[in-house]
Symmetry: C2
DNA sequence: CCAAAAGTGTTGACCGTACACCCATGA
DNA sequence: TCATGGGTGTACGGTCAACACTTTTGG
């Protein structure tokens, strides 16, 4: 029975993570300078190889943890890349994941240790292999998904201002939005709770702080609600 | 250099195809009764293993061709399934593709040879391994994508009537639609050309036949048009 | 005191939705 | 002749988009 499998080929399986962040009104990517061959010294996505005994999701989490030290990060499988010569020396199939990191977690990342740095998505450098293509696919997916679901919130701190939220969507969709219409639309969902706070770190005095009511959101979703930003 | 890879594990890579069709107002799946172990005699998606020297897209096309004899079929990568024990005897990572087949191509398929048969998506039998989960993911994807893009048209003959088109969307979205509003919306896009035809095969006499203007659609898309059915 | 950023409502246009009857055909 | 299925238009309500001024604060 088991012999049945033996006629088939086996492949190396890699994971590559497209790690998004949002800071100072800009959408960013966490990139590393490779310190291993091949392509040592070139800019690259953070990646790794899959081990026996873990699922792809596990492996992606592990790779992200190695770079950032963070757990409980929003991650989602994107696409598999399998072109014959995508890596020069060996046939490697790469499964991509994209991850969304809150800027409030930035300082926890030991970026120097991995030669990692945040770079604006509007100026992505040339990356190794097919990594630029991976980044483009991830950006498209982020845009598409942001239109119908509030995943963008995974990029903001748990408490945020409406101007911050608007900047985020402007960065994702790459277009200016009308302030009054944006506020109206967001607040009309009833999913944003205004926080009573004396915290002055977010914006200037007079700026209202909100949090997202995830519980209420899930209840609405269960009733067939569609966000549609 | 190349030794660098040698510390990593290799995996069997399988392809599984979720093959949709549309006939007599019903959305269907092409399923096979497995004639090989493991799970011989059980219902299953059509699948196969990836070979050295082909990409995943190539392999998916090959698998689909083996079953249906059809080429130039709409196919898209869906998701990778990698649970540790998803197949009982060996660790196999499976990449799923979904395919959309026009009912006018049905008769070209030599279904008996592969123990294949079309079954309604509303009555999917119990399938081997995690194939039911694959089908559910594919259905969700088909729904989501149909809302913004006319991929459903890949399931219809090139010439079709508006009632046919409406039935298709009703089958995909699992809900009744208003006839007049549906027609208005579709025709207002200007993407459907009424054909002058004496062909009586589609519907009854008096039924207008349309075709989709793909060229015009691509032009509109390029200008930022979003279909939004 | 001046520049920059946050807060706040109204209106007109457009789109989505609800809804009923006639005609032709085939059983 | 009757049941089935295809074709057709209007009116109401709601949502989206455009638009300007005041206040506060930090430099």
């Amino acid at each position: 029975m088991v012999d049945y499998y033996k006629t088939y080929s086996k492949f190396y399986l890699a994971l590559d993570c497209i790690i998004f962040g949002f800071d100072k009104g800009e959408l960013k990517l966490l990139l590393i300078k490779r310190n291993i061959s091949p392509m040592k010294g070139k800019w690259s996505l953070m990646g790794g190889f899959m081990d026996i005994g873990e699922t792809l999701d596990d492996a992606a989490k592990r790779v992200l943890f190695q770079l950032t030290g963070l757990t409980k990060i929003y991650m989602e499988q994107l696409k598999v890349f399998s072109e014959l010569n995508r890596e020069p020396d060996e046939r490697v199939i790469s499964v991509t994941y994209y991850a969304l990191i809150r800027s409030s977690d930035y300082n926890k990342i030991n970026a120097e240790k991995h030669n990692a740095s945040w770079q604006s998505v509007s100026e992505v450098p040339e990356l190794v292999f097919d990594h630029n293509q991976m980044v483009n696919e991830a950006l498209e997916k982020l845009k598409r998904k942001s239109r119908s679901q509030p995943i963008g919130l995974e990029l903001l701190p748990h408490k945020f201002s409406l101007p911050q939220l608007q900047q985020l969507y402007e960065a994702i969709f790459q277009q200016k939005l009308d302030k009054r219409n944006f506020r109206k639309k967001m607040l009309s969902t009833g999913l944003f709770k205004r926080e009573v706070t004396s915290d002055q770190q977010i914006g200037r005095n007079g700026t209202f702080i909100y949090s997202f009511d995830k519980k209420k959101y899930n209840e609405l979703i269960a009733k067939g609600f569609v966000l549609d930003i």
